[in-house]
């Protein structure tokens, strides 16, 4: 065959600003509970760069094992090995290292078991494969041999990877992580001694702009009505450990208070303009209006 240099435009597209922007926009919409207005409010408060970086970085550990598989299929073996190494160190795994080894042993038992016919077919295919592989090793470039082994290895390793790092769409842990904002959760205690859990999007000397954790709406609190702010950890962000943890799992961050039951707290209805949240004047961002231009009074008069 005539040799020529091949380039992967697919990989370039994924890593290009367009691909990163698409990923960021997708995650902002998930965080905003698919509400475009809330997403725009987050974007205008956090700034484009913060939103972009903050949206993409949390996706990295989750998607890293699958990025490794994709790179392996695209014949980017060194990059794939790096991705798998990174996944071992940073991607939250559903099992510990010892349990994963036990799982591998269990899987090996399943693979080598089964009916006699199945085993006979496997032996025939393995013999054929070994012979052809020897010819390939003798007569082809090393890159070709590595690509062959890597591609077949994708299928062989797929069940293990899917169980160690479940696909986000089918696993509640990952969907929770994806739906969490990239900002730290905070327990905001108001002067009325009531506490809300949310994510502070922006604050100045007069106002706090907060994305409520409970229903993903954006509210404004006057600084005079906020008694204290404390970092907290929501249940869904209690991160699982990677397969090879480099840092001991010690977390001093307290858990966020559970949200009140429906009807138990005066949480305003969606679309309210001038309402009180836990006894404190708060402004829900009305659709189509800039959040910072209207205080409670003006929003109230507008509603």
């Amino acid at each position: 065959m005539l040799r020529r240099i091949q380039r992967s435009s697919t990989l370039a597209l994924i890593l290009s600003p367009v691909g990163v922007l698409l990923l960021a926009a997708t995650r902002v919409l998930i965080v905003a509970d698919y509400n475009v207005t809330t997403a725009l409010a987050i974007l205008s408060s956090s700034g484009y760069i913060n939103t972009l970086v903050g949206s993409v970085i949390p996706l990295v550990p989750i998607l890293m094992p699958y990025v490794g598989l994709a790179l392996l299929y695209l014949n980017r073996v060194p990059a794939a090995l790096l991705a798998f190494a990174a996944a071992l160190l940073i991607s939250p795994a559903t099992l510990s290292g010892a349990s994963a080894l036990s799982l591998v042993k269990h899987d090996w038992g399943l693979m080598t078991g089964g009916s006699g016919l199945r085993q006979a077919v496997l032996i025939i295919l393995a013999s054929l494969l070994s012979g052809l592989l020897l010819i390939e090793i003798a007569g082809f470039q090393v890159a070709t041999v590595i690509r062959t082994i890597g591609t077949v290895g994708i299928i062989a390793s797929l069940p293990l990877i899917v169980r160690l790092y479940p696909v986000p769409v089918s696993n509640s842990f990952y969907t929770n992580v994806l739906s969490q904002p990239w900002l730290p959760a905070e327990t905001i205690t108001l002067t009325s001694h009531q506490a809300v859990t949310g994510y502070v999007l922006e604050s100045d000397q007069d106002w706090f702009e907060v994305l409520l954790a409970q229903d993903r709406t954006v509210v404004h609190y006057h600084t005079g009505d906020v008694a204290s702010r404390t970092l907290c950890q929501t249940a869904s962000t209690e991160s699982k450990r990677p397969l090879i943890p480099l840092v001991p799992a010690v977390s001093q961050i307290p858990a966020c208070p559970q949200p009140p039951p429906p009807g138990g707290a005066p949480v305003p209805a969606v679309g309210g303009l001038d309402t009180r949240i836990f006894g404190v004047p708060a402004v829900r961002i009305p659709p189509g209006l800039p959040p910072k231009e209207s205080g409670p009074a003006s929003a109230g008069s507008g509603g």
């Binding site: 005539l2 295919l125 010819i135 007569g139 082809f140 690509r147 591609t151 077949v152 299928i155 062989a156």
Partner: protein
């Protein structure tokens, strides 16, 4: 490996020849070019059979495994079709590779000062080699009957050699 008669080139080759061009060599790639996709196809089916019990009750995972194996088998089919329609053609003017998609690579012979032939271990066992045209920065892998093809090209490059 198939050596096609120079008097009746396949239609996919003949359409790219000018009337004054004389065919020296028209060959398909050596079938060894099918070895990598063949290994991928067989390996995909092998791995899918092997890991299917591991998937257990996860129908989506089992489907993904078999879809991937089917993709590898489809790649094998595509490689076979491409091999059947692809030819290495050498005339007194040029060397080119053509297929149903057209001429995929071409180089005029007047740029070629010399030609080398190399054969790997598998090439010696299975009967293929690599032709290297250093001056044209061109290499053709998986050439069947490499010694004969080399001599044909050599005579085209150095016609005076025939006189001795």
């Amino acid at each position: 490996m198939t050596v096609v008669s120079t008097y009746s080139p396949p239609a996919s080759v003949a359409r790219y020849l000018s009337p004054q061009e004389r065919l020296a060599v028209t060959v398909r790639m050596h079938p060894s070019v099918l070895i990598p996709p063949l290994i991928l196809g067989i390996g995909g089916v092998f791995a899918a059979i092997a890991v299917t019990p591991v998937a257990g009750d996860d129908a989506a995972l089992e489907l993904a495994i078999w879809l991937f194996a089917a993709l590898l088998v489809a790649q094998l089919g595509r490689a076979v079709l491409r091999w059947m329609s692809e030819y290495i053609v050498i005339t007194q003017f040029r060397v080119f590779r053509c297929s149903g998609a057209g001429i995929t690579s071409s180089s005029p012979l007047k740029q070629v000062d010399d030609v080398r032939v190399t054969r790997s271990v598998a090439g010696r066992l299975l009967g293929f080699g690599t032709l290297i045209f250093d001056s044209a920065h061109l290499a053709i892998d998986n050439v069947p009957y490499p010694a004969q093809v080399y001599l044909e090209i050599y005579e085209l490059i150095h016609p005076q050699a025939e006189e001795f």
